[in-house]
Chain length 119, copies 2
Amino acid sequence: MIAKAPSCCAPLLRKRLGRNDAEALATAFKAIADPGRLRLLSFIAGQPGGEACVCNLVAPLGLAQPTVSHHLKVLTDAGLLARERRGTWMFYRLVPERVEALRQVLLLPSAKPAAKRLA
Amino acid sequence: MIAKAPSCCAPLLRKRLGRNDAEALATAFKAIADPGRLRLLSFIAGQPGGEACVCNLVAPLGLAQPTVSHHLKVLTDAGLLARERRGTWMFYRLVPERVEALRQVLLLPSAKPAAKRLA
DNA sequence: TCCTTTCATCGACGGATGTCGATATACTTG
DNA sequence: CAAGTATATCGACATCCGTCGATGAAAGGA
């Protein structure tokens, strides 16, 4: 059962979040709220071609292969990763739109004109 | 033991995330990876003065008062909320820098070259 | 076909987490 | 000091979640 990608892009800090939107958003954030999964995203994004097969991720992560597979599934179900089979290998790459969408959710109402002014 | 605010702002998608950075980031994201806490952030941000006391949050959230207090503590420990006692009431407001910091973490390497030009 | 490699799924275990009722603490008022 | 209100902490419970070994499934090569 592919966890449907949350409606995503609910305003969060702009409009009162309803129960359903909150649930969907929480699911998305839960996907990246794990050290192993954050490192997976980081490692994959850092690859030359922006993609990596599982065999290239197990060792650097220091987790067992089934665990890595599990994490990759969670991220894929959340829509943050896309998978493509190529021969014996399964390649994963991240879905930029999805990541960007999560970023948008955290946009503040008053775009902080504080100390650092990097407009 | 107040969970020290994570070093935060680790690049994530720019540089290979180490174990410690990943752990700290995961803690921060875990804080917002809950429907109740997302709604808390949303409700507080939506208040006229940008702040709210617990008594104004319990009813809209539909959770017991101890549960709300618990969630507020998690968010405060993560540095996302600041608390200030005012008489009998405890007022919470969000910490924009912290939220913005989490946003930055999700910045993609190839940041949509659209119009945004970051140094 | 048989074997090897690569990855996913299964089953189980231990620990973390959300929830709430009861209770403690802090502040105000009388 | 006593009583009332607002919030935090405690203790307990059920559920969720990360982890791994064992096993299954898919693809390629001899």
